[in-house]
């Protein structure tokens, strides 16, 4: 197994490269120095307390969570019925419509941000929060469409026919028969969409303004002028939350169903 040994070595280097910098950030967040330093000196948790002293971080975090969740909900409301109808009623132009729902993935997000600012937000004088919602909904729609279509392709529509022939209404059937069967697909689509939206920079960079800001944008602005461990502490906190979310996914849906 000599070959697998050299492969193993490359794999180690690759993972050191992927994870190492993040671990260094985490360790630097405990450093008792006023600037970011690795290896750090001493041990303190004051940078973690400092995060909650910075008002702009808190406001931005709240806005980021709100936009991510609300945009995903809107994308669900728009995407799930569409995915269902496309699969259920063999409609004309099915492929074209599906392509339309998936198309936001093909457009560079930075272009999307610019285009929306110029031709939607400025044109119709949309308030900042509304434009962020619209933009992030566009980002989330493809995730919902893709995963829900995949789960529906495994769904046996004869179960639905059976319910209908037993007298259940169409709406009842949809909520009690179809939805429960694709709920894990919907859940994984939502998680992906929320994470993607929460971490998005390119779109928000164009659409934030007038006192409304998002966490990644705020972090980027902070990084440009400060070099203290607060940002490392915030990064570590976010990474811990990410790990928690991943563990939760693994326990409930299996990580493989999400990526």
């Amino acid at each position: 197994m000599k070959k697998s040994k050299s492969l193993f070595l490359v794999t180690c280097i690759v993972y050191l490269f992927l994870i190492g910098p993040l671990l260094i950030i985490a360790s630097a967040s405990f450093s008792d120095t006023t600037y970011l330093k690795f290896p750090g000196e001493g041990f303190t948790l004051r940078w973690y307390a400092q995060i909650f002293q910075i008002h702009s971080f808190l406001a931005a975090a709240r806005m980021s969570v709100f936009i991510a969740v609300a945009a995903t909900l809107i994308a669900l409301i728009l995407g799930v019925p569409a995915a269902y109808a496309l699969n259920r009623y063999n409609m004309k132009g099915k492929d074209a419509i599906q392509a339309l729902f998936l198309s936001p993935v093909l457009i560079p997000v930075i272009v999307l941000g610019f285009v929306m600012l110029r031709y939607v937000v400025n044109q119709y004088q949309l308030p900042v929060v509304t434009s962020l919602l619209v933009g992030h909904t566009i980002l989330s729609i493809p995730y919902i469409m893709r995963v829900v279509t995949a789960s529906l392709s495994n769904f046996d529509f004869s179960a639905e026919e059976a319910a209908r022939s037993l007298g259940a209404t169409q709406v009842y059937t949809f909520f009690r028969i179809v939805l429960p069967n694709i709920k894990s697909g919907i859940a994984s689509a939502c998680i992906m969409a929320i994470i993607n939206s929460f971490n998005n920079v390119s779109l928000s960079a164009f659409l934030t303004g007038a006192g409304v800001t998002m966490l990644p944008i705020e972090m980027m602005a902070y990084v440009e002028y400060h070099f203290d461990p607060t940002i490392a502490a915030l990064a570590t906190l976010l990474m811990i939350i990410t790990l928690g979310v991943m563990l939760l996914i693994e326990k409930t849906l299996g990580l493989k169903s999400v990526v």
């Binding site: 993040l22 496309l86 198309s103 930075i110 929306m116 390119s202 960079a205 980027m220």
Partner: protein, 277 residues
């Protein structure tokens, strides 16, 4: 299919369609359309002509393509052996895949920032170089093309690894055994069995990495300098700092064209080379 069901179907599809058309498709159409007309409203290609005439844009354009290409090549070189190890040899496949996913779920701001800490003048890389004696004073590896490329690779390597593992998992172990029993060396098996069968994953991964690098904004913004701008940072600069929306539009159209050409081009070539994909 009765008519009523079809009507219901359309009612379910329509809101989403309208949303995407109204908020994305129409604006995109306007963006592209208006770059071909001057203020007087007559058709012109002058905007593009002048853009490609300017040395500044030429440099930005070439730099974007170059850095994306280098990053893709390095991602393939690093991703191939490690994916093969994970798919075929590792007993901790699930865990290793999770550790590839974790950085993808972590904000690009955090990932780029971590390199600012590592590569800075007082960073660990410079202290290591000085300790070994490779350099006597800190060298600048930050805010240039090197740091941008490092950032890109870290950002998109997981995509390459996951694409490759996806296809490598499906290579039946029997094929390797058969090749071996027919006298092929390990290297021969790799070249003639594993490599050709992994091409689809390599193509998918390369397209994802290349277009990802070409359109990434956060990493070049944080790890690049003012004289190493790329297409994405130039769009932002034109639009938000200079307020020149005409120029920004032209760069945006160029970016769309390049990404679409690259992804459909590479996919087309690979389909021709290997019709089974």
């Amino acid at each position: 299919m009765n008519k009523k069901a079809l009507t219901i179907g359309w009612l379910m599809v329509l809101p989403g369609c309208l949303f995407v058309v109204f908020f994305m498709l129409v604006p995109l159409f306007l963006l592209v359309f208006r770059t071909f007309f001057d203020e007087g409203g007559s058709f012109t290609l002058n905007g593009y002509w002048e853009m490609f005439q300017s040395t500044y844009f030429q440099q930005v354009f070439v730099r974007s393509l170059k850095l994306s290409l280098i990053s893709t090549a390095i991602c393939a070189l690093l991703g191939f052996p490690s994916s093969y190890y994970i798919a075929k040899y590792s007993r901790h496949k699930g865990m290793l895949m999770a550790f590839a996913v974790f950085p993808m779920f972590t904000s690009p701001v955090i990932r780029s920032f971590s390199w600012i800490v590592l590569l800075g003048k007082k960073g660990i890389v410079n202290s290591a170089l000085m300790t070994i004696g490779l350099t006597s004073k800190p060298i600048s590896i930050l805010y240039n093309e090197v740091s941008m490329t490092i950032g890109f690779i870290q950002l998109f390597l997981p995509l390459m690894i996951l694409s490759l593992i996806g296809v490598m998992e499906n290579i039946p172990e029997d094929l390797n055994l058969a090749a071996g029993s027919l006298g092929a060396t390990k290297l021969g098996t790799f070249r003639h069995v594993v490599l050709p069968l992994s091409i689809p994953g390599l193509v998918t991964g390369s397209v994802l990495v290349f277009t990802g690098c070409l359109t990434a904004y956060t990493t070049p913004q944080l790890l690049g300098g003012t004289d190493t701008r790329v297409l994405a940072t130039v769009i932002y600069q034109y639009a938000m700092s200079l307020g020149d929306w005409t120029q920004a539009s032209i760069v945006a159209v160029v970016m769309i064209v390049v990404t679409v050409c690259v992804s459909s081009g590479i996919n087309g070539i690979s389909r021709r080379l290997n019709p089974t994909i």
